[in-house]
């Protein structure tokens, strides 16, 4: 038998025996590579007798093409087999608990505050801020709460000095005066922030909590604007029409003053045994009213660019913690400031 025929038999046998890509690669290398057998065969041609040369050359080239085609085919078959094997899936268990990703969270008060800010911002309100350690003047006097006023005792103020000159602000309302001193009406703003009251603590009262103050100053402001604004805000916040009721309420810095109740979102005004509204069907939401002329005078008095006689406004203030509790159905306000991640990480 001639050498090239032997070579062909051997090569085809090895190709047929291949079961892996690596074996195919070694067959390719051994026969088709730069130092492979077919190359050697071709290299040997000049040393052959002249009449054999064309025959051997043709056989070598045929074998080369045959092997290349065989390798391609075998690769294709192996790939098909691999894909088929992989697709079988084995004992894959999708219910195996996944590797846990670390998580981060925003505080629920931050989340709800941002929502409140977004809604008011979309209605053209600016967002203002004020100090938590506040002058008595801004927290009380300028808000029509003189030194002897009984409502000072209602508020259980934390005092920062014996002279009661500095207080931990008991409300966000001092921002009203600070803004009036700085700005030219008309304007509308909200001022969210931390407030402090030295009260007994329980599931619904904490000595530190958060309020959102609202203030609109301009000409021709009416009670209807206040209800319209708050109704609009609540509808957007709860993503549905919310029943509200307005009733008389006393706050020295507004006149007339109101309390705005919201139909209990948990029992839909039915009351009964509802824990959230204690069966009343309404939840106190905010204190509000038309800005008291004394407050406008304290904030804008003595300025040439403001005509106090024409100036009107409304103001409101609501508790953010309470809103968070309503929003998520929480029953203990103290969890909000408790710093326990088992609670906070859910938000």
């Amino acid at each position: 038998m001639e050498a090239h025929a032997e070579l062909r038999d051997e090569a085809l046998a090895r190709l047929a025996a291949c079961t892996e890509l690596a074996e195919l690669r070694s067959v390719e290398k051994d026969y088709l590579g730069p130092e492979g057998a077919i190359g050697a065969l071709l290299a040997s041609i000049p040393s052959l007798p002249k009449e054999e040369r064309p025959k051997v050359g043709a056989a070598a080239n045929r074998l080369k093409k045959e092997l290349e085609a065989g390798l391609d085919k075998a690769r294709g078959e192996l790939e098909t087999a691999r894909v088929a094997a992989e697709r079988a899936g084995g004992d894959f268990d999708p219910s195996l608990p996944p590797r846990r990703a670390a998580r981060g969270s925003l505080h629920p008060l931050t989340k709800v505050r941002r929502e409140v800010e977004r809604i008011f911002s979309s209605m053209g309100y600016d967002i203002a801020d004020g100090p938590e350690v506040e002058l008595d003047y801004y927290n009380f006097q300028a808000l029509n709460i003189p030194v002897d006023h009984p409502s000072r005792e209602m508020q259980d103020t934390f005092y920062c000095d014996e002279e009661h000159h500095l207080v931990m602000r008991t409300q966000t309302s001092p921002v009203q005066i600070r803004v009036m001193e700085q700005r030219q009406p008309p304007f509308r703003l909200i001022a969210p922030g931390r407030v402090f009251r030295n009260e007994e603590q329980d599931a619904t009262h904490n000595h530190t909590f958060h309020q959102v103050e609202g203030l609109v100053v301009g000409e021709g402001i009416q009670v209807g604007h206040l209800t319209g604004t708050l109704k609009g805000f609540l509808a957007e916040l709860f993503q549905r029409q919310v029943q509200v009721r307005l009733r008389p309420g006393y706050f020295p810095f507004v006149e007339p003053g109101f309390e705005l109740d919201v139909a209990c979102p948990f029992c839909d005004e039915k009351g009964g045994t509802c824990r959230v509204c204690k069966g009343v069907g309404w939840v106190e939401f905010c204190g509000c009213g038309l800005v008291h002329p004394e407050v406008l005078a304290a904030g804008f008095g003595g300025r040439d660019d403001v005509d106090l006689d024409k100036l009107t406004g409304f103001a409101f203030g609501f508790g953010l913690d309470r809103l968070v509790m309503l929003r998520y159905g929480l029953d203990d306000i103290r969890n909000l400031m408790g710093g326990d991640l088992r609670f906070l990480e859910q938000f």
Partner: protein
């Protein structure tokens, strides 16, 4: 405050008005009604019984065995211990199963061997006052078998009104004042009440003097002598009204005094006339003057307190409580009635100082109407006469003081009412509303002059806006149509701090996987002591919520540190942040307010890393990475961390050697980052099972807002391929990595596009005192593909620079 609906009915006809409707209308138009409950529902479960027969208990002297008919087929046998039980008496019977006040359930019982099925009740057992003679003797006409409430006409409803909603309304602290509101709300007339003082004898009137320095504190004082009074139990109607209003009936005089207070809102006091025989003197207390009040309390007073005296001796603490010596005794027949008007703030302060806040002081502190003084006297005397007609008034009343009937009127234009409320109310509606509340309207040229009634003239109503409120609330605020606000459309003001805060929060809670916590502004002394920050200046509370919790934080970080332990107990990785305010009292503003700072605090705690852990596995490195990312993300460019000189100031929580200032590219320091001071691990509870690597950082929002942001220029994609080169530099152990990085950058002459430390090695194969840092570099040029020559020249430069700095370039 508790309000009896039956009592209101004495002043206004309530026919056809359900209690719930009354409660709702009052809430919507006057003051918040917090409760609306039937009065003493247990009285409906008590049956009128007739004692048929009474025999002595065979085995107990003081007990009787009674046969009581209650309208059922069989009479009941009841053992009773009262001395006044006797055959023929109508009594109040609680049958088996009835629950009496105090959750006392009547059961079948054997008392000293005698079966007893029920109980004959006393007034006290039914919550209707003190026992006088044992069981309650019912009127003869009470029908046997009917329930007690309907038999005696005791049905009533009690409204509870939120006192806070009455703060500004002294006129609503009595039933008549509330009835006036009800009358106006429902459009019914307020029934007349005769409060004139009846004819008096011609004897010398009581002597009353008000010391000049006390004139403002006691604008009006009326004293009236009463003779022939008998101290006895009050009639049933009076007891029931008082009980419904939450006032325990005691005896006629106490009850009458309370009745007048709860009816007109005017407190008053009855003295034993013998105890004030020297006449009444109203004066300020002397410094450190002592007095013993009715409740046996001893109080040390001062010139801010007002006293009622007789012959120099204090007999009452004005408006707050009577004195122990002038108490009316059961045998007292001659009395002196005091009705006065005291300065609200004075009474409030005295009541607070002495801890004697009472129904009386609560009313005085609201600034009462001075016209109530004679009215309350007349009302009390007339009510007393209706019960004890034999009582006489031996002399005219003495009514003294600087008080003058107020003459207050407020100008109001009906147009203003419409404008402020935003409702089209016609003039007539407006004036009728006001008139129904007692305002006196005179119209001229379209403007009203509104006379304010005396009961609304003490601070309550003084400006036109107050009258707008009156019209608005009677109309019903709910009837005002909501409308949108109209204004110019401009974008809201940009608030750089808010934008910064939100960006920080989002990055931290998002990519960095931190949890936001909010800590209290108040730091407890214990935590401050543990952190060693007690000596720092803090704003201090005069009246902290708890002993020691009086420091207002300067920085948010201490609050975060205080939260590590509880959370480390639950999880290995605690990564928390807070953005908040701190207060620095040592840098006061122009009005003495402390300087306010805005700060981000971060704390990261992980279990300690293993010996073989990567160099960047520790808490410091991780936290520094977070800081770097935050600042880059916020557009502040590349942050650097610069070690501090050993003597430089650092926060008390910071490790003395493992901390750094965090600076922006231009060198502005914006924060501080450090591992936790090792001495704090134990005090903070991070030992044993909870032993942790802790790193903390603060970032000053104020510094960031003041810093200039470099213009943001995103890097272009490289046009020519990069060449990756790894180099290792051995250097003295103390040399900062930052210096080596700078050395590489310099040697690169602009070719170093990216530089990443991937290994830090100390140990074998290195000379002692040396460490080796290995870096991945990416070299690139803007204008060509770098060749081997470029790399070789770079390595040559680096080698020379290293040698010059006592380092070695290791190439392998």
């Amino acid at each position: 405050m508790f309000v009896s609906i039956k009592w209101l009915g004495r002043h206004v006809d309530l026919t056809g008005i359900a209690p719930e409707d009354l409660a709702r209308e009052l809430t919507l138009r006057t003051a918040e009604v917090e409760g609306c409950e039937p009065f003493a529902p247990h009285l409906g479960a008590i049956t009128v019984g007739l004692v048929r027969e009474r025999v002595a208990h065979p085995d107990a002297d003081r007990l009787s065995v009674c046969t009581v008919e209650i309208g059922a087929e069989e009479p009941l046998t009841i053992v009773c211990g009262a001395p006044n039980v006797r055959a023929g008496l109508k009594v109040a019977v609680a049958t088996v199963g009835t629950v009496l006040p105090g959750d006392f359930k009547i059961k079948k019982a054997k008392i000293r061997g005698q079966a007893s099925s029920g109980m004959i009740c006393s007034l006290a057992e039914l919550d209707l006052g003190a026992d006088h003679d044992g069981i309650w003797e019912l009127p003869e006409e009470a029908p046997v078998g009917s329930d007690l409430a309907s038999a005696l006409g005791l049905e009533d409803w009690v409204l509870e009104i939120d006192n806070k909603s009455l703060t500004h309304r002294p006129d609503l602290w009595g039933h008549r004042g509330l009835a006036r509101e009800v009358a106006a709300i429902f459009g019914r007339p307020l029934l007349p009440l005769d409060t004139s003082i009846p004819a008096c004898g011609a004897g010398p009137p009581p002597q009353v003097t008000i010391e000049e320095s006390a004139a403002e504190l006691c604008p009006r004082y009326l004293a009236l002598a009463l003779d022939g009074v008998r101290v006895e139990p009050s009639p049933l109607w009076l007891r029931c009204l008082l009980a419904a209003a939450g006032q325990r009936p005691l005896d006629l005089l106490v009850d009458l005094s309370n009745f007048v207070m709860l009816d007109l809102g005017q407190p008053n006091h009855l003295f034993d006339r013998a105890a004030v025989a020297d006449g009444i003197e109203v004066r300020r207390a002397a410094a450190a003057e002592e007095m013993v009040t009715l409740d046996e309390g001893r109080h040390t007073l001062g010139s801010e307190d007002l006293l009622i005296c007789s012959g120099q001796r204090p007999v009452a603490l004005a408006g707050v409580m009577g004195g122990a010596d002038s108490k009316v005794a059961p045998e007292t027949r001659e009395l002196l009635l005091e009705v006065a008007n005291f300065h609200g703030t004075t009474v409030r302060r005295t009541a607070m100082r002495t801890g004697l806040r009472s129904e009386s002081s609560a009313r005085f502190e609201k600034n009462l109407d001075g016209e109530l003084v004679p009215a309350a006297a007349g009302h009390l005397v007339r009510t007393l006469l209706s019960i004890q007609p034999e009582v006489t008034l031996p002399s005219p009343p003495m009514d003294v003081g600087v008080y003058a009937t107020p003459d207050l009127s407020v100008e109001l234009s009906p147009e203003m009412v419409r404008e402020r409320l935003g409702v089209e109310l016609d003039d007539n509606h407006i004036s009728t509303s006001l008139a129904s509340l007692g305002f006196d309207i005179t119209a001229a040229n379209g403007v009203y002059s509104v006379g304010v009634p005396s009961w609304r003239a003490t601070k309550d109503i003084s400006i036109a806006e107050d009258l707008v409120e009156e019209v608005g609330r009677l109309h019903g605020y709910d009837n005002i149509p909501p409308r949108p606000l109209v204004g110019e459309l401009t974008p809201p003001l940009h608030d750089a701090r808010r934008t910064l805060v939100e960006a920080l929060q989002d990055r931290l809670a998002g990519g960095a996987r931190f949890h936001e916590v909010l800590g209290y502004s108040f730091l407890h002394a214990e935590l401050c002591e543990r952190l060693g920050i007690c000596d720092q200046p803090h704003v201090r509370l005069v009246n902290p919520v708890a002993e020691g919790e009086d420091r207002v934080r300067r920085s948010v970080l201490p609050s975060l540190l205080g939260r590590l332990e509880i959370n480390r107990r639950q999880r290995e990785r605690v990564a928390i942040f807070e953005i908040g305010k701190g207060y620095l009292p040592e840098e006061p503003g122009d009005r003495g307010q402390p300087r306010e700072i805005h700060e981000l605090g971060l704390a990261w705690s992980v279990p300690p890393s293993d010996k073989g852990a990567a160099f960047d596995d520790g808490a410091f490195s991780r936290l520094a990475g977070v800081m770097e990312d935050l600042l880059a993300q916020l557009g502040f460019g590349c942050a650097s961390f610069v070690g501090l000189a050993p003597d430089a100031g650092r926060p008390a929580w910071a490790h003395p050697g493992r901390g750094a200032l965090c600076s922006l590219a231009d060198g502005t320091a914006v924060g501080f980052i450090a591992e936790l001071e090792p001495g704090l691990h134990r005090p903070l509870g991070l030992m044993d099972d909870l032993v942790s690597d802790v790193a903390c950082a603060t970032l000053s929002l104020d510094a960031l807002l003041a810093a200039e942001k470099p213009a943001f220029r995103p890097r272009k994609l490289p046009r020519f391929p990069e060449t990756k080169v790894d180099v290792a530099l051995a250097c003295p152990a103390a040399m900062p990595a930052g210096d080596l990085a700078a050395m590489i950058e310099r040697a690169g002459k602009g070719l170093v596009g990216d530089l990443e430390l991937f290994d830090l090695y100390r140990g074998a194969n290195l000379p002692t005192g040396q460490k080796s840092l290995a870096w991945h570099l990416r070299l690139r040029a803007e204008d060509r593909t770098l060749g081997e020559n470029d790399v070789a020249r770079f390595l040559g430069r680096l080698e020379r620079a290293a040698a010059a700095a006592d380092c070695t370039l290791r190439r392998d």
